[in-house]
Amino acid sequence: MSKLSLIIKREYLTRVRKKSFIIGTLLAPVGLLVYMLVIVGLSAYQGGDEVRVAILDEAGMINQIPDERGVRFIPAANKNLDQLKQEVMERKIDGVLRVPPLANFKQTDHTVYYYSEDKLAPEKSELIERRLATKIRDFKMDSLRLDVEQLKLLDSEVSIDPESLTGEDKDDQSKYTVGVGLAIGGIMTFLLFFMVLMYGQMVMRSVMEEKTNRIVEVIMSSVRPFDLMMGKIVGAGLVGLTQVVAWVVLSGAVSFLVPMIFGLDSPPPGAMESAGQADPEMVQDMITRIMSELSKQNWLLITTSFIIFFLGGYFIYASMFAAVGSAMGDDSGEGQALTLPATLPLILAFYIVSMAGWRNPDSGLMVFASIFPLFSPIAMPFRMAFNPPWYEVALSIVLVLATAVLFVWLAGRIYRVGILMYGKKVTFREIGKWLFYKG
């Protein structure tokens, strides 16, 4: 076995066998599941006890309002405000809603009064406002003798359908195209940012550990410094890939197994209607269209570019972290500033994508970010779902790979000096000098 592969094997195995890695890998999908359940639970939460509200309709605009989400509407015909207030005090009802008459039909804002000993929860107050507005609207339409059906015809839903100039219509786009593209791009960007940062720092810590352990000189008398550095970078990178693959497999298993275990093959029929205004048919339609958009994506291209940009970005940043780790050594506190050149561009790239990318994946800033090699590993995969011009992708790939090679080489030159330097406070200037040391 070659020395490089021995080093890779050790770096990989010691990390993968660590309890923290196993727990992190196993628990992340479980954590995701718990998170999803909490979200579902929260959205289903009714917001406390039921509130009984009597409606004192002074103008006769409102007839019955159906009970909804913890609010019970009680008609209060033949009762006056004082009687109703008495009922509130006797706890027969929780509050009185006094709806004064409209001054005229042109009035578009209307204040109603709520008498109660308790404050109305914001969610309930909003619900009541919406229902009353609808009732007042119905009342106005009725009074003005407007035709409801004709009014409905006034509303049109407009959506932009992008068409290609050449007339080839092989990928017909819709508003879902953009949404799905953003989702794919967003997930890729986040995953890349997270992995490059996390595993790059893992390389840094591992380099520092060998330096503080003082084992590094022993190892260096057996292998070349470059092999040791490369072994670390490749080993940690493989751990990262293992983790992602494990997460994908586990998440798949969890999302497949959980519905089987709990016997929920579809959401209960009522849940959909009360949760939102959307009717099941529309939701069904939406899901089919998203699915069709997903199947239309060029997954081979997306996966390939993800891997290329992951490798490029990972090697660029991991080699920077390795160089920084070799220069830092014993006291991690003092050397913190040295990590800035490695972390800053990464965070900046993520920031550009999350600010500019969401608004327009093809803006000038995004085009620049997706070609500039320190940003492109994060920015270009985001654009991949939007069919960027092939020459931009090609340029970006060439640049990122060339930069990765260059950075690994530069890091190797810094590493071989830094790793044997003890008890010395290192500056950027000094690191610059190391680049030119011979042998």
Binding site: K3, N213, I215, V218, S221, S222, V223, P225, L420, Y422
Partner: protein, 301 residues
């Protein structure tokens, strides 16, 4: 010659850490490399162990110019040494031995042999961080010699060792040397040099300032001082033809001229009534030679 260093220069920036050093280590010797802190010993050793490369000059190991196979013939225990704390002893030794070019099988056999020899076979599964400092040093030593190097380089090997372990390792070094392994022993502890080394080199400010075999150097630096102990005091008026540099009770230290020999001194005493009980030439300790030589080079520089 197991090692031949020829006109080696190493600079860091503008600083000349090793400045035209040449030396040869004969096969089968224990070779002491001495020098004050910062003299360039570690820089020189790092070039011999192929950790760095010389800017100028050549280094031959066993007749071959240093190459990528050379590390497998060298065992190096640096002054700044350590082990992976979280790794188990067995795995760690296996890894380090394989990096030195042993196959897994060879490495396992060698580890078994050494753990048996030090009677610590039950340590295989122990993590290094659970061992005491002295125990860790034993493992470190084993790691250095597992691959049966032709040349063993030990940089301050006894720092941090208690007297018992120091003796244990000293004995092992002697045995290894007897079995044909050449040893370079870097230290600033002079008594260890006199005890263990046949040859030495003294390095100061990157230069080789003294080099040769121990007995020759001692003779070269002797000051013709002789100590004589008698059973009675010399009579007050005795005509002593040699200057007395020290006199304590019945013990006299004489300074002889270059032309005079110990026989001349003995001849004088034969004529005295007091009998000679002890007669000894005072050879300089390496500590003295070391300080003298360093001082000389400082003033000439």
């Amino acid at each position: 010659m197991i090692l031949s260093v020829q006109h080696v220069v190493k600079t860091y920036g503008t600083y000349r850490a090793v400045d035209d050093v040449s030396l040869e280590v004969p096969k089968g010797t224990v070779f002491g490399m001495l020098g004050p802190n910062g003299a360039g010993k570690t820089s020189l050793i790092r070039m011999i162990t192929t950790i760095t490369a010389p800017d100028e000059g050549k280094i031959y190991l066993d007749g071959e110019l240093l190459n990528s196979r050379s590390p497998e013939k060298i065992g190096y225990m640096p002054e700044e040494r350590g082990l992976y704390k979280k790794m188990k002893v067995g795995e760690q030794l296996l890894y380090l031995a394989q990096l030195k070019g042993l196959t897994e099988k060879q490495a396992k056999d060698a580890i078994d042999y050494w753990l048996n020899r030090f009677e610590i076979t039950d340590w295989w599964e122990k993590k290094v961080e659970d061992l005491s400092k002295g125990m860790q040093q034993k493992i470190q030593f084993i790691a250095t010699i597992l691959h049966r190097p032709r040349l063993l380089i030990l940089d301050e090997p006894f720092t941090g060792l208690d007297p018992i372990n120091t003796n244990l390792i000293k004995d092992e070094i002697r045995l290894l040397n007897e079995s044909g392994i050449s040893i370079i022993f870097s230290t600033h502890r002079m008594e260890q040099v006199e005890e263990m080394c046949n040859h030495i080199v003294l390095i100061n400010k990157g230069k080789n300032v003294l080099y040769g075999d121990v007995q020759t150097i001692k003779k070269q630096y002797k000051k013709n001082l002789y100590e004589v102990e008698t059973d009675g005091v010399l009579p007050d008026g005795a005509q002593v033809p040699f200057p007395v540099v020290k006199h304590e009770k019945n013990t006299y230290t004489f300074q002889l001229d270059r032309e005079e020999t110990s026989s001349d001194l003995l001849r004088f005493f034969l004529q005295q009534p007091a009998r000679v009980v002890r007669f000894q030439e005072i050879l300089p300790s390496f500590n003295e030679i070391f300080i003298q030589r360093v001082a000389e080079t400082e003033t000439t520089a």
